[in-house]
């Protein structure tokens, strides 16, 4: 279930990137979103969660961005932040939006700063700000949809087990 959700989100990110205009407010970051939404499915198994995050990051680096280990690194750090947040807040329909906003802003900032650090990009406040706000709307919507879908599938599974 977890692998399927992560893989579908990963592939969907590539597909949607082709459909939305590049300069729009809808930059897809579905892989990060799927990492947050699937966290409860790991049942507090942090090591497994970090391994999945690292693998997803590495795949992202190899397939989409050609910047090996940048996304591996940022997704592992993001996963650590998610585990930390989830110690204090449980993910539900209400606070999912707040958590996803924070996680996206955190991940994108770290990602940009690392790219600047490794001289892949040159630091620019306006670019950073634009990248941050343009990656929020679509991903918040996707996180909500994904959360609802996972909830429905989980409920069906529980009923099947009882029967």
């Amino acid at each position: 279930m977890i692998v399927v959700v992560l893989l579908i989100s990963f592939i969907l990110e590539g597909i949607v990137s082709n459909l939305v205009p590049t300069s729009s407010l809808f930059i897809p970051l579905f892989s990060i979103v799927s990492l947050l939404v699937t966290y409860p499915l790991f049942n507090e198994n942090k090591i497994k969660y970090l391994i999945y995050s690292g693998t997803l990051g590495l795949l992202y680096d190899l397939v989409y961005t050609n910047t090996p280990f940048i996304n591996t690194f940022t997704l592992i750090i993001t996963a650590l932040v998610i585990t930390f947040i989830c110690k204090f807040i449980t993910i539900n329909k209400l606070n999912l939006i707040l958590i996803i906003l924070f996680v996206l802003l955190f991940n994108q900032t770290i990602n940009y700063l690392l790219l600047c650090l490794f001289r892949y990009r040159i630091f620019n406040n306006a670019t950073l700000l634009e990248g941050l706000y343009s990656s929020l709307i679509l991903n918040v919507v996707y996180s909500y949809i994904l959360y609802v879908v996972i909830e429905i599938i989980n409920k069906k599974r529980k009923y099947k087990r009882i029967i």
Binding site: T65, R121, G131
Partner: protein, 281 residues
Amino acid sequence: MSKNGNKKKYIVLIILVIIGTLVVATTISVKEKRHLNFFEKAVKDSTTFMVGAAYKPFGFIKDKIKESNEKNKMYKEYKKLKSMANKAKMYEARIKELEGEVDNLKKSLDINQTITDYKTINATVVNRNVGAWYNTLNINKGSKSGIKEGYAVITDKGLIGKITSVGNFTSTVKLLSTDESINKISVKIEVDDKSIYGLLSSYNKKNNTYLVEGISDSSEIKNGSKVVTTGLTDAFPSGILIGEVKSVTKDRFELAKAVEVTPSVDYNDIDIVTILDRDSK
């Protein structure tokens, strides 16, 4: 208690070692133009193939929507094309004559290659600009189709970028719409019969304009003049359209002219690209 403390110390140490290794590995591997290793090529090729296959139904729907939108403009386009078709035959004859002339001159001067020579390879875009910061797109042709790093990439409207990494069946294109001065390109502005040379240095995302600097020529540059590549660098052949002059100002030192250029390409609508191979001709 002490056992728990030791365990925590080990975990922190392992995390630090992993982070350190990743930082070192990233420093070595993150380069603008680099060769992919066997493992990277295999993963990239297979996954891009999967993403490409999954995109096909969506691409089909996108094309249909585009097609129906274009149908509304068809009559106007038809009228315009009809008037152009008459001229086309005349141009065709003229091109053939000029090509023959160029071939004869090449033979007499014993020249194998000129700055306008190239072979073309067509490819489809599989995904683009994934993540907010990368300004790249992946295409479905790689080294098996003859693509190499540094080759210029165009659409039917003009230059869009160059190949930065090549897999066996996929490649990555770095777009010119990167809003910082990473790739400088030698360009010329065609004013009447004269060419004014400059350097395309950056892209302004907000205004959707390139900046051409280093123009010492005092001639007047009219708005709307065409900006094309010069062919003086290895990657870009001569005469590839980049855009049109939007405005002329002074550079930041008030010494030379700086020209804002509107790109001829719509970066939001890139589905099929052409790679220019200067080696094979």
